[in-house]
């Protein structure tokens, strides 16, 4: 693991309301939701983070704001990963979409929208992907009961 590289990345990404640290071999940046697009643009243009790995959310029902939205990126030039984290409230869980920067964001944002109800501003296609049309609720939210079923066709008695 290239510690010097990670440290320089951490220093480059800190500031402007962003907090950067190093944890388990990747750079973790906590930022405000409105700083997302600018930060990701900078990551891609200046630091060669060309592979968008993943977006997901973490639900903390007792906390305000309730959701963490977490992105992972990988640089195929420097072989390092960076994690972006932001917090969004339950009444308006909206973040900017990254489909303008990475094609792979399409499906992963759809999945995150399915599972947590996070809205991605600028993604026109947030149809259900792992769930089906007409599914109510967001199953990975902690208040969705694990055993609740929503069969499309009623079960036979």
């Amino acid at each position: 693991m290239n510690t010097a590289l990670l440290e320089s990345l951490r220093d480059a990404l800190a500031g402007d309301g962003r907090e950067a640290s190093i944890a388990q071999g990747l750079v973790v940046v906590e930022l405000a939701a409105d700083a997302l697009l600018a930060t990701v643009g900078k990551l891609k243009a200046e630091h060669a983070f060309d592979l968008f790995l993943d977006v997901t959310a973490v639900d903390w029902p007792q906390r305000e704001p309730r959701f963490d939205v977490v992105w992972h990126f990988y640089s195929t030039r420097d072989f390092v990963r960076v994690r972006l984290k932001t917090r969004v409230p339950a009444d308006d869980p909206t973040v900017d979409s990254l489909i303008g920067l990475y094609g792979s964001a399409h499906f992963m944002e759809r999945e995150c929208h399915d599972m947590y109800g996070i809205k991605f501003r600028g993604n026109p296609d947030l149809r259900p992907i792992l769930l089906y049309e007409g599914f109510e609720g967001h199953p990975l939210r902690k208040d969705y009961p694990k055993r609740l079923e929503q069969p499309l066709v009623p079960y036979r008695k």
Partner: protein
């Protein structure tokens, strides 16, 4: 005209639906729908102990379940600050490569069969079946092994296992050699595969491709080389890449990767150190059965580990292994209790489906089957 291909179609293994807009025989636009195998894996994970999840992660990529096991265990171990024993490190590497071999054999065999190459299919699944039986001998199961443990492995190798491994690798050379002879310069095969489903390197990176598909476009990115984990930094191996990123390159990259895996297994067989396979850490590894029966501390320890599970410190962690399909990442969040707060899988197959239309659009309807076969979509990890 709009044609539905799948979800119940023999070539859409693992149930996927491709809605194709056609102009004659040419595919103009495709919309890929997945989720037919969604079974709430991530939700289910949140109500079990960390150890109980190992059988679940088996069922993500069921063609190479051991790689899932090890990637998951390593993520939890990283959060717990556990360093596995040397023997375990080499064994996990060996089993990972052995699984990759089985996975690539499955993928290549299935995609050849879909083009009518039944003989090549039988050659490849014959050798795969030797591997399955052989893995069953070590782990007790043919497909879903549940062999990894947080802090080690379920058990050490049985007697004579490495001798049989050497035999199988010889038979592998024989059978795969025959498939090379049947397919590589086969006119029909080349016509169906060359310049079909072409993906450029820039497209592949933009659409999040990793693994053999990314390498088939000529990008030599492989986590085993770039961010070495387990014992990969000590092994001699090459990263095969393609030239055009078409179906033929994806076939050939997988065939070459299997040879590299065999080369690595040969090295690992000579490098295996003696010693325990599990760490001596009572936070996650069960105490010796003899002690459980004779002293109260071990009995309590055993009970707590089974009932409450390993206590993972609060925090989050992302770790990734190069699985047979690409970057398999686990993002876990622990709140310090015995059950996971969140387990998220970065499944390569799911990401690959997102950009699948880049390989399907503009080609013939009949090309969908070989192109889709060369992506090696595994429903278990795609839909979770």
């Amino acid at each position: 005209m709009i044609v539905n291909i799948g979800p119940s179609h023999p070539a859409t293994h693992g149930t996927i639906q491709i809605v194709a807009e056609l102009d004659g025989e040419r595919v103009v636009r495709t919309d890929v729908h997945c989720g037919y195998l969604h079974r709430g894996f991530e939700k289910e994970c949140e109500s079990h102990t960390w150890h109980n999840l190992i059988p679940y992660v088996d069922r993500l990529n069921y063609c190479s379940a051991l790689i899932n096991n090890f990637a998951y265990c390593e993520t939890v171990e990283t959060l717990m600050g556990i360093e596995i024993t040397p023997r375990c490190r080499y064994l996990r590497t060996l089993f990972s490569e052995y699984s990759r071999l089985a996975d690539h054999l499955t993928c290549v065999a299935a995609s050849l069969m879909e083009l009518g190459a039944m003989t090549a299919f039988l050659y490849l699944v014959t050798i795969r079946d030797y591997i399955y039986e052989h893995l069953a001998n070590a782990t007790g199961a043919r497909v879903t092994y549940s062999y990894g443990r947080i802090g080690g492995l379920a058990n050490d190798l049985p007697a004579g296992w490495l001798e049989r491994l050497a035999e199988i690798l010889v038979q592998y050379e024989d059978f795969v050699g025959r498939v090379h002879g049947l397919m590589d310069r086969n006119r029909i095969y080349i016509d169906r595969m060359r310049n079909v489903g072409v993906l450029t390197a820039a497209d592949a990176v933009n659409w999040g491709y990793t693994g053999p598909i990314l390498r088939s476009t000529g990008v030599p990115r492989d986590l085993r080389k770039d961010t070495p984990y387990l014992a990969y930094s000590e092994l001699d191996f090459e990263v095969p890449v393609g030239i055009k990123g078409d179906n033929y390159d994806r076939y050939f990259v997988r065939m070459r990767e299997m040879d590299e895996s065999v080369h690595m297994i040969h090295q690992l067989m000579n490098m295996l150190p003696e010693g325990p396979v599990s760490v001596d850490d009572r936070r996650c590894v069960l105490p010796d059965k003899q002690l459980v029966y004779t002293e109260i501390e071990s009995l309590i320890n055993h009970f707590k580990l089974v009932m409450d599970g390993p206590q993972v410190p609060a925090g989050d962690c992302y770790a990734a292994h190069e699985s047979a399909n690409g970057e398999l990442g686990f993002y876990i969040v622990s709140d310090g209790s015995g059950t996971p707060w969140k387990v998220h899988v970065r499944a390569p197959s799911f990401v690959h489906m997102c950009g699948a239309h880049r390989m399907l659009d503009g080609y013939q309807l009949a090309d969908i089957v070989p192109t889709f076969g060369s992506i090696n979509m595994i429903g278990g990890e795609c839909d979770r």
